[in-house]
Assembly symmetry: C2
Homo-oligomer: 219 residues x 2
């Protein structure tokens, strides 16, 4: 299995890469400049010498050569990141992990996205992509602590059922994660928004909380 | 402790009432007509003869005589429910449990609320209320199964910290619930929206899933 990460030098993208490499997934680690992608890949190889997955540092367009491409970039400046990717993601499964997070004196909140969600905005800008959304509430800090398993449910939304199932299978490879299909792409809105709630809880409780669903095995 | 429930004859309001009565909380069970509220209260007394809490059937205005008032009504027709309550909730702690749920051929989705969230819409229509929001993703079906504990985290949002803490304390009395302050009232938007995601998961997995946060005790 192989995954590409747009924004692979950031905390979320880099953390996902670590966990996938340890699970034997090959990673194309993208950055705006290929040299930065390669530097980050070299660091991962040095940190995880025994990981069964192979990591390659590339630019963001190069990351889109993988069959599944995760967008792990900040909401600010997203359009500029997407424009060069339009052709490269044609026919690819693309996963938006982008949260429209903003902060003011009252704490975290969600920027209003005219399309309804960042995922829907990405779908509009990447018309050839098989668009999905997931990983919104997975803590970058926890991803980096590869010595302990995660404790997270990953909810995957999208209108292409086969694409959603592929992302669920990829997410399930993360140690300690259970992944589930969770409805249509338009339901990315509350998944993106919940991250602000979790940040508010984290601040109060000095933790890095994750999302779990209960009663998933009870009828 | 005493709680009033606007829409106490519905599945959510009635289920919360059952659980609170069993926890020793007195309940003012409201309905549009006092006679329907009293009939529902009589049913609860018959179903739970040993519950330490006392239940009184009233109209929705009568429910607002309690220090904490839960709005457990559908989003459709909400304005008509709120208009008669404006004076009655003055100075009261009010909890919106209302989800802006809608359904079409693609499944559940969230109606766009011009104020940002139902909770913020309620705050605008009930200016004297100390507005909070909670209980969005607690399953009515599970509430009714009082023979087993819940398995839910209740996230409480609001801009009045004292009001939020009072709702957290009330929610913590529900068997199997952990409740947490979770930020400003504007963060009701993703909490309200997440219910559509949970319904989509429920449909696929034939369950009544609930929300839990992980890592809340880890630093």
């Amino acid at each position: 299995m192989e995954v590409g990460i747009v924004g692979g030098t950031g905390a979320l993208g880099g953390g996902l890469a670590r966990r996938w490499l340890l699970a034997g997934v090959d990673v194309r680690l993208g950055s705006r400049e290929a040299a930065r992608g390669e530097a980050a890949a070299a660091q991962l190889r040095a940190d995880l010498p025994d990981a069964p997955g192979q990591v390659t540092g590339v630019d963001n367009v190069g990351a889109c050569a993988a069959p599944i491409v995760v967008l792990a970039v900040p909401y600010g400046g997203l359009d500029a990141v997407l424009v060069p990717l339009v052709d490269a993601v044609d026919g690819r499964i693309v996963v938006s992990a982008v949260n429209p997070l903003a902060f003011d004196g009252d704490g975290p909140y969600n920027a209003v996205v005219p399309e309804g969600s960042v995922a829907q905005a990405c779908a509009a800008r990447l018309p050839g992509a098989r668009m999905t959304a997931a990983f919104h509430s997975v803590s970058s800090r926890e991803l980096a602590h590869t010595e302990r398993p995660l404790d997270d449910d990953v909810l995957v939304v999208g209108d292409d059922a086969e694409a959603v199932d592929a992302v669920v299978a990829l997410a399930d490879l993360l140690d300690g994660v259970r992944a589930y299909p969770a409805g249509a792409l338009r339901l990315a809105t509350p998944l993106e928004g919940l991250t602000a709630v979790i940040i508010a809880v984290n601040k109060r409780h000095k933790t890095h909380a994750g999302l779990r669903l209960s009663r998933l095995t009870v009828d």
